[in-house]
Structure formats: C-alpha cells, structure tokens
C-alpha cells in the first residue's frame, strides 16, 4: 500500500514524465518510504515568510513529511548548534544559510556531509537543468558540500528619483559629488554584513582614497535596520541608499514611489552573489532520507521559482521563468563577474578587506 | 524530677558572636504558676522566653518540659518549635493581617487537624474567654491594639498549650487599657489554671500578676522569689533598684550576740534582719524601701534611727516628698501630709528591722 502511495506521489512530483532509467526511480521510492518513516526534516534558515507560509506547507502536502524550520540570527544558531554537537546532539538535517555562516562556520567546522551524492532526482541531477557547465554548482573546494542555487548581479545602490535624477548618478565619481553630502544612507560599513560588503566592493574596485571620500567626506548616515533605510529612501530623507534590497523596495514601487535601483556605475565592475541562500547537508543528520527528499525538491523548479519571484533573485536553473525579473540582474553570459560569494573571497579576502575598510574609517 | 515541676530551665547559655546574652540561667516553673522574667531591655529575658518556645537554640544547658527534654545541645537534642505545644503572645501580637479573627484563632487547631465541628466551638469559646465574641468575622486589620492583643491571646490558648508564653504583651497598650488587660490577664490565669511564663520590664506588672518573679540582669539571674520576697528583700542592689525606689546607706557591721547592727557613720545604728553572713567589722550597705521608713522630728536617737536634714520639700498632692541629706547621701522619702518638717530641720529616719536588708559593699 505504502509503495503504491509513494509511486502515486512520485508520479505527481515528476509530472513531466520522461523516459527514466529504472534505478533512480527505485532509489527515489525507497527514499520516500524511508523518509515518511522518519516523518520530518529539520531545516535551519533565515526567517523568511515565503519559506514558512508558502514552501513548507507545499512540501508537507506533497510528501507527507513535516518540516521543522528553525530560524534566528545565524550567529545565535551557529553557537547553539556547535554547543549541541559538542554534547553529541545532532538535530539538524539541512542548512539554508548565507555565505558567511556556511563558509566560515559550517564548512570549516566539519558540520557538513557531501550534498552532491544526494541529488538523485533527474529534475536536479540532470546537468541540462542547470546553467553552468557540469550541472549543479558547488562553491566549496571539494565541489560537493555547498550548493549554489542563485547567482544575481548586485545592484549597487538605490535612488529616489524625486530627489536624485538618474542622470545625476551615472558614475562612481557622481557618488562623491559634494551635492550628495549628507544625502546617502547605508548600513554601517564597520559592522560587517551588507554595509561592509558594499564598502569592500568599492575598496576593491576603487581603492582606499575613494572609501575616504565616500564614507567620510560625504557624511553618510548609518542605520542597522533594513526597514529604516528603506523608509528613508522612500521619504527622500536620504535619497541615496547603498545597502537597500530589491525585495524591500518592491512593495513601495507598487505604491508609486519613484525608487530606482542602479546596477551599473561607470568606473566599477558589477559583481554577482548567491543570495539569498546556499544549501548544505548536515553531517550525522537525524533524518537522512527526509533530508534527501527535501534537498531534491528544494533544488527543483517549483521551489526555486517561488524564491526567484519573491526575492528578485536569479536562479542557476535553466527552466525557471525569468521574464518577471529586471533583466539587469541576470548575469550576462560570457562575462566573468567577480563573485561576492566566492569561497576563498568569503573565507579570507572579504574579511581582510573589511578590516582595511574599518581601519580607514576608525 | 519533682512532680511539681512543669518546666525546668537549667544552666542555659546563649551567645551571639562574642556577646553572651543568656549566661547560665536556671529556674523551674510549677504547674499553674504565673512566672515572670523581669529585667531591663537587653537583659536576656526575651531570649530566655524564645529559647523555651524554640525560637532560639541554646548554646548550652538543658530545657525540660513535663519531663521531656526540649533542648539539650550537649546531647544533640532539639525539639522543633512546632512540636513543643506552646502558646505564645508576641509583643507585636503578630496577628496575621490576611486572615480574619476567626481564622487567626483557628490556625493552631487547623494545624493540629481539629475536626470542623469542634474547631468552631473551640475558637468561639476562646474568643469568648478573651471577650471578643461576635468579632470572629472581622478582618484582623480592622481591630484596635487592645483587640488585636486579645486575638493573639485567644490564639495562644485555643488549643490548651502546655505553657503560655507572654512577651511583654501589655507594653504596646495605653495606660488605661494596660491596667484593664492586666486585671483580665490575672483573672484568665486563675480561670484557665495554665502555667504562664511572662516577660516584662515593668515591675508593677510583675508584682501584681506573678506567683514568682525572676529578676534578670545582663544575662544572669539576680533573684527568684515571690513578689514580696524580691520586693522586700532584694538580694542584690540591682534587684532593689529595679523593683522600686530604695534607700541605701553605708555602714559597718557590728555583731552583738545574735543581733546584727549596722553603724551608719555616726548618724545612727540600724538593726538588720538576720546577719546575712557578714562578719564583725565588715563594711556593708543597708537597703530599705522608702515606704518602710517613717520620718520623725528630732528627739532622742534610739536604735533603728538615723539622723538627717531636710533639704527640700515637694508637694505631691496626696503626699509630701522630702529630700533629706543623711550620712553623706541624698535620700528621697515620701511622707504623709500631716508630718510637717521645714527645710533645714533635722529629722529622724525610722527603719523597720523586718524590712532592712544588708548587702555587701
């Protein structure tokens, strides 16, 4: 009975039925049966409503497997999970975390098992489904632990065109025009996070003098709160925002606010990143089969397209509709963008540069 | 142990750090006896009472009630407070403000698992005894001081304790109420026939209520006796002073056969009741109560008379008060209004040999 149910389910899942080698199907069905027995999968991630309200119910409905979704700031969760592991408790199956946590905590502390072998469903295992050569992309040196799902061109900054005309801000030199003194808002570049990342990008592209001009002479205003920065931008209090996010801006655009994200500034190379998340598989996962099902499903078209739509992120899949995205955020083929979420860069280069920025701005 | 001993308090010692608060006090209390610990504040009398109740643990000695050892530190015996079956009235009354009068009084019975029906009767009886019938449903904070005191008393007697401990129960009342409560307490004691240990610093309360009084000073027992014994024949100067005004004169002991006569430095000679163990020629003091001395105008000086000089007369309404200089000391003596001695006149102080005690220098 259970097998039949699993078959039906798997048929529903792979509605685009093509000729399958029989062995994946058997393996997949066995996994489904075992996963149902495990009953749940424990996923750590950022507290995003799409995941909680949309994707998790969908997954549970489709496979009958509960998802325990643990959220919190990544530092708090990292501390918690380390402590648990020291006491021999392994509670997590799948990590959906940002590059920082994954690269500087999960991977070096050997909290992961290879994820690549788990990709058994043709929908994700088939290299043709992925934009990059060789199929699914892994960013770690071993090429099998940290799976990249997105790669989007960074928007450099946002402006409110009621206060700043787009033609007034076309190059990096425009940004340090004294006209915009006291008109720029950013997350604090000294405190890590996106504030630091932006400053680091300017440092790499334009050197320390530019950093001084932008962050000292222009007297930008700092905030820690995403919402505060967005509101400032919308009200024109500080009409240039260095660290706002497209998904925060989107609802304001619907209300007619004239906010524009600027992708390219003359004088600096565009960069890409893998936001909002990277996927990794915990070692000693308590629910390995359920985790396997979840991973195969999450890397699939449905889940990623939902994310792409809600978070304005470009997936690495070839079959996801991209018509609703701003074309400027889709990396142009053939161009080798510097990647903000490159493994070595996250592990070392970024932090070292951030330290240099911090020293400049002390 | 004698059948006539209810409580035996033996060589009890209590120290707080370096201070010895109770320093080897011993006494016994007989069944039905009203026993008072009298002394100034800080003398250790309250600590003594609290050791009986079990609120303080003695550092030495033994306390025995009805043949049962309550506390004996040397033998490691200590009966917890709640197993001692005492009734106690605190100086502050310690009425529980969150309970009604009824519940306050019922508390000891509830603790003892008294059945509901008899509980009610016993509480109402106790309230009647203290004259608070009809107050049982009052909140205890709605009561006056005197009423609170009665509640405390009712609570202490409601379960017929082995011993009733009263810690300065009248000291928070005003003068009139205190007189009234003193009378009621006396009547209550007679009626219930309970042994009472009573702590007070008020000598008139002690004298009026007690069967026996123990005078305590600086952690030591000065004297135990009936009110008249301690009053008339204080064994120490402290007891004499504490229990009322005393007249004290210095002199030299003379033995004349079986009689002991004290020579008051040329001002006269006073016969002393018993020799109190003083040898011939010993320097002593004699002690008498002012009211046991009468004043006479000058005349022939016979034994038991001492000469003095009036320095001042004060009119006190119902009597006169003379300030008299005698044998180098200033004495204050009351006298009836009819005896009239002008200032500057010489007078004779007439001692009653039965009421004169000799004390060592």
């Amino acid at each position: 009975m259970r097998t039949i149910l699993a078959l039906v389910l798997s048929a529903a899942f792979t509605h685009a039925a093509w000729a399958q080698p029989a062995d994946w199907r058997k393996q997949w069905n066995d996994t489904l049966v075992a996963a149902k027995k495990e009953g749940k999968v424990v996923v750590v991630g950022s507290p995003d409503p799409v995941m909680r309200n949309d994707l998790i119910p969908k997954f549970t409905k489709q496979f009958g497997i509960q998802v325990e979704y643990l959220t919190g700031s990544s530092s708090a969760l990292a501390g918690r999970i380390q402590t648990e592991r020291q006491s021999g408790i392994y509670s997590i199956d799948v990590y959906l975390s940002g590059a920082g946590t994954t690269v500087s905590t999960l991977y070096p502390q050997k909290m992961l098992d290879p994820l690549k072998p788990l990709l058994i469903h043709p929908d994700v295992a088939d290299p043709k489904k992925w934009k990059r050569d060789g199929g699914a992309t892994f960013m770690d040196p071993d090429g099998q632990y940290i799976m990249m799902l997105f790669s989007t061109v960074n928007d450099t900054l946002f402006i409110n065109t009621d206060f700043v005309k787009p033609e007034e801000l076309k190059s990096v030199q425009d940004l340090i025009n004294p006209k915009w003194k006291g008109k720029i808002a950013s997350q604090d570049p000294r405190l890590g996070g996106s504030g630091a990342n932006t400053a680091v990008a300017f440092y790499v592209g334009l050197g320390p003098e530019y950093i001084k001009k932008l962050y000292v002479d222009q007297q930008p205003v700092y905030s820690r709160d995403r919402r505060q920065l967005t509101d400032w931008l919308a009200r024109g209090t500080y009409p240039i925002c260095l660290t706002c996010r497209a998904d925060d801006i989107k609802p304001l655009l619907k209300d007619g606010f004239k906010l524009v994200d600027v992708f390219e500034l003359d004088g600096i190379m565009s960069r890409v990143n893998s936001a909002p998340l990277l996927m990794a598989y915990a070692n000693k996962a308590p629910h390995p089969n359920a985790a396997k099902v979840f991973i195969n499903w999450f890397a699939g078209k449905d889940a990623l397209e939902t994310y792409s739509r809600e978070y304005e992120a470009v997936t690495l899949r070839t079959d996801v509709d991209e018509s609703f995205l701003d074309p400027r955020m889709i990396p142009k083929p053939g161009i080798k963008y510097p990647d903000d979420t490159d493994f070595e860069w996250v592990l070392k280069g970024r932090n070292e540069t951030a330290d240099k920025v911090r020293d400049l701005l002390k | 142990m004698s059948a006539n001993v209810l409580l035996e308090f033996k060589d009890a010692v209590k120290r707080y750090g370096d201070t010895t608060v109770v320093d080897g006090i011993s006494f016994t209390v007989a069944p039905g006896e009203f026993f008072t610990l009298l002394g100034p504040s800080g003398c250790g009398k309250t600590t003594t009472l609290r050791m009986i109740a079990g609120l303080e643990m003695p550092d030495g000695g033994e306390i025995t009630l009805q043949g049962r050892t309550l506390a004996a530190p040397a033998r490691g015996i200590y009966v917890p407070i709640d197993k001692r079956n005492m009734g106690m009235v605190f100086q502050s009354y310690a009425i529980w403000p969150h309970l009604t009068v009824f519940e306050n009084v019922a508390f000891p019975l509830r603790v003892r698992g008294e059945p509901k029906a008899s509980l009610r009767k016993r509480v109402l009886d106790a309230l009647e005894v203290v004259g608070l019938s009809g107050y049982e449903n009052r909140g205890s904070t709605e009561l006056s001081g005197g009423q609170q005191q009665r509640v405390a008393l009712a609570r202490a007697i409601v379960y017929t304790p082995a011993l009733l401990l009263l810690d300065e129960p009248l000291s928070n009342l005003d003068v009139k109420l205190r007189e009234q409560m003193r009378l009621e307490l006396h009547a209550l004691h007679k009626r219930l026939n309970l042994a009472v240990v009573y702590v007070t610093h008020d000598q008139s309360e002690a004298l009026a209520l007690s069967d026996r009084i123990a005078v305590v000073n600086k952690g030591k027992l000065e004297q135990v006796g009936t009110p008249s014994e301690v009053y008339e024949h204080p064994l120490t100067r402290f007891v004499g002073d504490f229990l009322g005004r005393t007249i004290i004169l210095k002199g030299t002991m003379h033995k004349d056969g079986s009689e002991s006569i004290v020579d008051i430095q040329g001002a006269g000679r006073v016969l002393v009741n018993g020799d109190a163990g003083f040898g011939d020629g010993t320097e002593v003091r004699i002690l008498s109560r002012p009211e046991d001395i009468s004043l006479l105008g000058m005349g022939e000086i016979v034994p038991n008379q001492v000469v003095g000089k009036v320095e001042h007369v004060a009119y006190m309404g119902d009597h006169l008060e003379y300030t008299i200089e005698a044998a180098g000391r200033t004495l204050i003596l009351p006298s009836g209004k009819r005896d009239n001695h002008p200032v500057g006149a010489s007078v004779r102080l007439v001692f009653d040999p039965a009421c004169v005690t000799a004390l060592s220098q």
Binding site: A78, Q86 | V79, D82, F90, T141, L165
Partner: protein, 584 residues
C-alpha cells in the same frame, strides 16, 4: 508526642540544618544554572582557536575587544546614559509610587495598573512610533510645531543623546520602578510616618526625613537594578543611536555576536565588564546597608495605612500623571495601533493606506496557534517557578542567618549582567550536560527555566524586601502555634507576600512572553514561542505584523495582569483599601 532526638554534634542543630540545607540547595542550584554557564563562557573567551579545532588559550580575544577605541567610548556612553536616565526615572517613579500608595490621590489603583500596562508594551515598536512622531524630517510632532510662531526648524531630534534619554522615559525602567516601589511604600508601617507628623513635621519633611531614609535600602536596590538594566539596554540605542553615531556597550556586544563567524570570545570579554560593575556595586551596596542595619523591619504593628491628605493638590497630581501618561504612552501607542492597520507603517500619503491584512496574516500564520500555546505554557510556568524559587531565595536573604549572604546575593544579580544571548548559550550547554537533558533541551520547560533564571534579580529583590518588611514575628507566631515550616510558608508567609508574589508572577509572565534573546537558542519546532515569531517578523522587515503581534502580546499580558491582581489581592485577604473602620 515523641521527643525528636537526633544524635548529632551540638554545632549542627536540626533547626538550622533545614535552613542550611535550603541555603546550600539554593546556592548549588544557582551555581549550576548561573555561575557555571558564565564560567563556561569565560573559559571559552580565552580559547583563541575557532570552535571545532583544538583549544588554544590566550588573551587575543580580550586584547582585540578592549584595544578598539570604540569599546571604551561605548562603555562611557552606556554609563552616561544609564546615570542620566536613572535620575529622572527614579525621581518620577518614587513620586508616583508614593502618590499611589501613601496619598489620597484618586485612582491610585488605576495609575498602578497603567504603569504595569506600560511596562509590557514592547519597546522596539514603541521606538518606531517615536521615530514617526519626532523625526526631524517628517515627524508628526515636528510638523505640528512648525505651525507655531517662531518655530523655524524641527524642535525635536530623536537621533541624539537627549532624544534617546527622552524615549527611554516612555519605554524603559520608569514603569518597572513604579511597579517595584509601590508595594514597598504600601507596606511601610504607618506609625513611623504618623510619629513624624505628630512631632510637628509637615508632609514634605516627613517624606524627606523619615519615609525616604527608612526606605532607602529598598530604593537604592531598585536604583542599582535600573542602573544595571540601563547598561544592558540597547534596543532604543540600536534604532536611534546609529544615525547620530552613538554607540553603546550593548550594541558593541551585539555587533560582535553578529559577525561571521560570531565572535563569542570578544563578546564575553566585553560582557565581563558588567561583572566588574556588579562586584563594585554589590560591594558598596552592602557597605551602605551595614551602616543601616536597624532599618530592616519597617512595619509597625499591623499595616493599617493613614493616607496623606493632598487636598486640592490631589487633582493636580492625578492630572499631571494623566498628562504624562497620555504623552509618553498613549500617543506613541496610538501610532503603534494605527501602524498595525497600515499597509506601510507611517506612510499616510500612499493610496489606501489602511488594511486589516497584517492582523489577518498574523492569525492566519500556521505557526500562530502553536506558538501562542507554547508561549502561554512557558509564561505560566515561568511565573509559578519564579514565585516558588525566588520567594525562598528572598526569604533566605531576608533572614540574615545565612552563611554566605553576599555570595547568594551576587548570584541573583548575575543573569542581568551577562548579555542574554551569552547566558542562553551557557545555559544550553548546561542543559545538554545534565541527565535532565530530555526534559530541558528544546522543550517549553527548558525555556521556562531559563527565563525564570533570567528574571532572578528583580524577583529576588522584590521578595527580599517584602520579607524584610514583614519581620519575623508573624512567622514565629505560626511556628509556635504548631505549624511546620512548610505549612507556615504556604499558609502564612506566601499569602502575606501575596501582592509581591503576584507582582513577581506577573513580571515573570510578561517578560517570558516578550523575551527573545533567551528562547532563541533554546527553542525547537515544538516549543517555538510567540516572541520568536515576533523576531522573525521584525527580521524580515514586516514591522506592521510585528506591531500587531506586539500589541497582541501586550493584550495577553494585560488580561493576565487583571487576573493576577485579583489573585494577589484575594491572597492578601481583606484589602486595606476596602477595609472599613471597626464598627465600635
């Protein structure tokens, strides 16, 4: 009746043995749940290798944390803020508490209730409301002020030192201070004040020369409490401080914890400064109290209270309070309520600015019901545990018969001087290392225990002062009447401190509902509380839904408060307010 004979050396007496046992038990408990986690964190802070690698010990983390010039600057700002805030907040709280408890100001109970209510309005959304009201560019009050004559620029700027101080007057400890001080004033025996009045002192002199000095140990304890709480505070500073480049100590620690990977070592090093401050304060507080040993029992016979007649000033007093409350609480709260119905908080000029969707989304969240249930279980357990544990701790501390009073007192303060997240991490470690792991780890019970521990300073101080004011007679009377200590505790002591117990219970309940930093490391999918939901909403910028949830939490606390007060008053028996003078 049998003689209880226990053959022991004379030095260890049975009565004291029970007492000592309780003392040692409490000490052991605190050692395990407070000292050990902190020790764990401190040792960890000297480990300079990242976790997972072999431990290497050194001072690198500490040197890094303290060599940053920003650290000292932030520490100085924190002290400055805490001191500057303390003065008006304590003064106002003393006045309000005195008005409530000792005068015939009308509506005293309502005033007290309002202070309770205000304390539990979450400060994060309230700060957002103040930003809307005071922002120099678009703030509502500033715009209004522009219409006044002679006003040419913005009057207020919340992004400044004084702006932060001001906002704290509405969100911070002032309400807590009133809550803690009112029962203290209420229990003060009237006779002391009456004696002063009889001696010819007027109301003011009596207050100044008698009431305040007599209550000074309690007032100072509450001041120390607010001061430490002030050092720890950073929500308001986080939002208002950064635009003005004001950094406080709490935000420094927060920043270290948010690094990738989180710099627990540096954060702990910074956090340990609070430990030093605590040592310092504890030392001087004890010195101060030792000089005033006689002040402990301040209740006279009974506590029937004669209230000060204010005459027509009573209307001035209540009027002033209402004005203050309207401005400091109702005004921003109204904005908050409106905000929860706005499509975008604070944007009135967009089309169709109002919507019910945030409330609908809140109730429609599939996690809502489960989180609500968890939160209620956690908060009730915390309240009950708090009353049970801290009434005993407070009793022990008040008894003055402890072997190690300073140590116990010190332990009780620990949870507030260690940043919540570090304390939680240490506790998680403890939970995992005990045989009770199954009961505590990831469960509502573990979260409740952690929250109970976190509230120890205020709970302990509240009970301690209550028992100190009670004096020993009421307890001894019950013991002499034949009641065992346990029976006495249950029937006499606990009901007598009923209002305090209700206060502590409500405080624990409320902070359990609102606390985020404690449960964030301890919850699991089955024990997720509402506050984690709130965190998620704020994290993703859904502040409207966060505001709705914040208001809902405040509402729940409000309901519980009404129940709690009723319970507390019933425990106390015939209340003083309702007591009628004896008929004769």
């Amino acid at each position: 009746m049998s003689t209880v004979t226990i053959p022991t050396p004379a030095s260890s007496w049975p009565k004291m043995r029970g007492f000592r046992l309780a003392e040692l038990g409490v000490l052991l408990f605190f050692c395990i749940v407070m000292a050990l986690p902190i020790l764990f964190m401190l040792i960890g802070s000297f480990n300079i290798n990242p976790p997972g690698q072999p431990q290497v010990f050194g001072f690198d983390n500490w040197i890094r944390a303290f060599s940053d010039p920003q650290t000292l600057n932030a520490l100085w700002m924190s002290f400055l803020f805490s001191i500057v805030r303390l003065i008006p907040s304590l003064t106002l709280a003393v006045i309000v508490a005195w008005l409530i408890a000792r005068t015939d100001m009308p509506g005293g109970n309502t005033v007290e209730f309002l202070c309770w209510f205000a304390y539990f309005v979450p400060d994060f959304p309230l700060t957002l409301a103040w930003m809307l009201l005071l922002d120099p560019h678009y703030g509502f009050l500033n715009s209004m002020a522009m219409h006044l004559p002679f006003v040419t620029g913005p009057l207020f700027n919340p992004y400044s030192f004084w702006g932060i101080v001001f906002v704290h007057l509405g969100t911070g400890g002032i309400w807590l201070n009133v809550m803690l001080l009112t029962p203290v004033f209420r229990r003060l025996g009237a006779s002391l004040e009456e004696a002063a009045r009889v001696s010819g002192a007027n109301t003011f002199t009596t207050l100044w020369r008698i009431t305040f000095p007599v209550l000074s140990p309690m007032i100072i304890a509450i001041a120390v409490l607010s001061f430490i709480k002030g050092l720890e505070s950073f929500n308001t500073e986080l939002l208002l401080g950064l635009p003005a480049r004001i950094y406080v100590y709490g935000t420094r620690i927060y920043d270290y914890l948010r690094q990738e990977p989180p710099a627990y070592g540096e954060a702990t090093a910074l956090g340990s400064v609070f430990l030093l401050v605590l040592f310092f304060l504890a030392f001087f507080y004890r010195r101060y109290l030792q000089g005033k040993k006689k002040f402990t029992v301040v209740t006279g016979s009974g506590y029937s209270t004669l209230r000060v007649k204010l005459g027509k000033w009573r209307y001035v007093a209540i009027g002033a309070f209402i004005t203050w409350f309207l401005f400091m609480m109702v005004l921003p709260l109204t904005f908050l309520v409106i905000g929860s119905f706005m499509r975008r908080y604070g944007f009135f000029n967009i089309s169709n600015p109002f919507t019910l969707s945030h409330w609908q989304n809140l109730f429609g969240d599939p996690l809502f019901i489960g989180s609500l249930t968890n939160s209620l279980i956690i908060a009730s357990t915390t309240a009950i545990l708090g009353i049970m544990i801290y009434s005993i701790v407070g009793y022990l501390l008040a008894s003055k018969k402890l072997l190690f009073p300073a140590l116990l007192e010190f332990f009780c303060w620990l949870p507030w001087v260690i940043p919540g997240i570090l304390m939680s991490l240490g506790l998680l470690w403890i939970f995992l290392s005990t045989p009770l792991r199954g009961v505590l780890y990831g469960t509502v019970w573990g979260i409740a225990l952690a929250l109970t521990i976190h509230d120890s300073p205020v709970s302990t101080q509240a009970f301690k002062s209550a028992f100190m004011q009670l004096g020993p007679d009421l307890e001894e009377a019950a013991r002499v009447s034949g009641a065992s200590w346990r029976y006495t505790y249950r029937r006499i002591l606990l009901p007598l401190v009923g209002p305090i117990a209700a206060t502590v219970g409500m405080l624990n309940f409320g902070s359990a509902l609102t606390s985020i930093s404690t449960p964030v490391l301890l919850y699991s999918a089955e024990s997720r509380p509402l506050s984690i939901l709130l965190l998620e909403y704020s994290f993703t910028g859904e502040i409207e839904r966060a505001a709705a949830l914040g208001l809902l939490i405040t509402f729940i606390i409000c309901v519980m408060m009404l129940i709690g007060r009723g319970l507390g008053l019933r425990l106390t028996g015939p209340s003083r307010e309702e007591a009628k003078p004896a008929a004769n």
